[in-house]
Symmetry: C2
Subunit: 298 residues, 2 copies
């Protein structure tokens, strides 16, 4: 079937079975991101946005789209933050691409290097602990601190619909519903004066849509995988979800929608813990000493 709008050759068939050519796909994508931002009140004009940029397709697409909106709607400042965790043969390559991409877009890029910030690296820490848990904690910690340092009022991440559906299913399979209470398109609002709220503008975009967008826009995306990325359980659940989605189109969307219906209840049940201030570093923490400080002491 040709594009429903202009009869040109289609590049994508949406869930409603409508085919879209390249330029109408790009419009569809951007409109849907715009709608997500509006409906879930992710960003307003006064916000100063920091985008967590890894150099992968999701965060690069997010930065590109927000930069378009930024120009169109004359939004407040837009920044990018890249975390260099010190993973040899991986982050040094993506860092170079990210720098070039930000230069091209004219977006200021702040780089946080674990080796300077923490006097360590994931390559070093992985000898003592699971590198992915350490990386997750220290990345979140550094992103928040860096976003606050540049005066950002929102931190935008590139999570897409696949990521969210996977997390929801993983948590419900593993019985970790309290982790699901931390999901959703917008988190951490009014949590702690030092915590920058997080938003996920690509929340309703399928991973394959993000991929197509990044290819059509010829974004300088790095497709190398982190050498530590095992995440076999996430991969397993992701594979299952792809299988279900191909047999029952709309599965991922439906999982996320039904989750959003439950999210207020989940938050009511699980998010009762007071967010305190870490005794050692002064950053937000649920414990007396935050997990980042705990990891760095090991």
């Amino acid at each position: 079937m040709p594009c429903k709008n202009c009869s040109l050759k289609p590049v994508y068939t949406a869930l409603n079975n409508e085919s879209l050519c390249s330029s109408h796909f790009l419009k569809y994508f951007e409109r849907k991101v715009c709608k997500t931002i509006a409906q879930h009140k992710l960003i307003d004009r006064k916000d100063k946005i920091a985008v967590a940029l890894s150099g992968g397709k999701d965060s690069s697409t997010l930065l590109y789209v927000l930069n378009k909106f930024h120009q169109k709607y004359r939004l407040n400042e837009l920044h990018a933050i890249l975390i260099n965790e010190g993973i040899e043969g991986y982050r040094n390559i993506t860092e170079k691409d990210a720098k070039k991409f930000c230069r091209e877009l004219g977006i200021p890029l702040k780089i946080v290097d674990f080796r300077k910030e923490f006097k360590t690296s994931i390559d070093k820490l992985k000898k003592k602990m699971n590198p992915c848990s350490a990386c997750g904690v220290l990345r979140r910690y550094s992103l928040n601190k860096a976003a606050r340092d540049i005066g950002a009022t929102k931190l935008a991440t590139g999570h897409n619909l696949d990521d969210e559906a996977q997390s929801i299913l993983m948590n419900s399979i593993k019985g970790n519903l309290e982790f699901s209470a931390k999901l959703g398109p917008k988190t951490g609002v009014l949590m702690h004066e030092k915590f920058v709220p997080r938003v996920k503008p690509l929340y309703f975009m399928l991973e394959k849509e993000v991929l197509i967008y990044s290819k059509l826009r010829k974004l300088p995306v790095t497709f190398i995988e982190c050498p530590n990325a095992g995440g076999s359980f996430r991969n397993e659940v992701g594979r299952m979800l792809n299988e279900l989605e191909s047999k029952y189109p709309g599965t991922k969307q439906s999982i996320v929608n039904s989750f959003l219906g439950m999210l207020p209840l989940l938050r009511e049940k699980f998010q009762k813990e007071r967010i305190r201030t870490c005794r050692e570093c002064g950053e937000p923490s649920v414990r007396e000493v935050c997990r980042a400080c705990q990891i760095l002491k090991i």
Copy 2:
């Protein structure tokens, strides 16, 4: 590994990796059902239990186990109810086996035949509508009425852990969380004066455990499938769950546990509708005319 209790040849390895011989497996199974009944207050001594018997492994096992408890703990009366939906080449066979089984156990069996009760059958209805939805509605309707007619205070069904984990996952994938509010080991308490509360004593037993139990006890179980049984989506989800369970043992249990943590919130959110009395037949209904009456009018 030999049986952890007596070193005999094992027939089953439980989730905690302990091997069990035939007689210790039977004990393990019965104890776990007993624990489920006690922990979730499914049955008490004053209850008169009606078991929904289909002749399959689950309901036959349930009837057998409850009959054992019935004798051991001198429970109140135990009855069985079989619904003959009028499905040629299927139910007539299982009905014969069920009659024989109840005779052997000395348990009174009440048979409800759709052809007498409703002057129709699923074989007839399937020409006009999806046979499985009609069958589900009319079975639930008839089981409740029959249980009430014999004065039962609880209706016990043979649902196992696999059934429940599948339903939970199916509902969350399809975005039907309001259906999940109707799951759980015990439902319908104080819902309507004419509604007999339902309990699932095999709630925490894996399907394969029920299968092994029914084989070891040499129960006269019918393994023929209903000719209408398609349920491709349930089968799909069941297959996925089996795959996950074999890679991550305990997955089904963990899905159900995490669901049980959420169930009170789900019920609070979704079970606010008043249960009324059907204008036509006087049975409990969420609508003015119950779904059974609606189906029978088509």
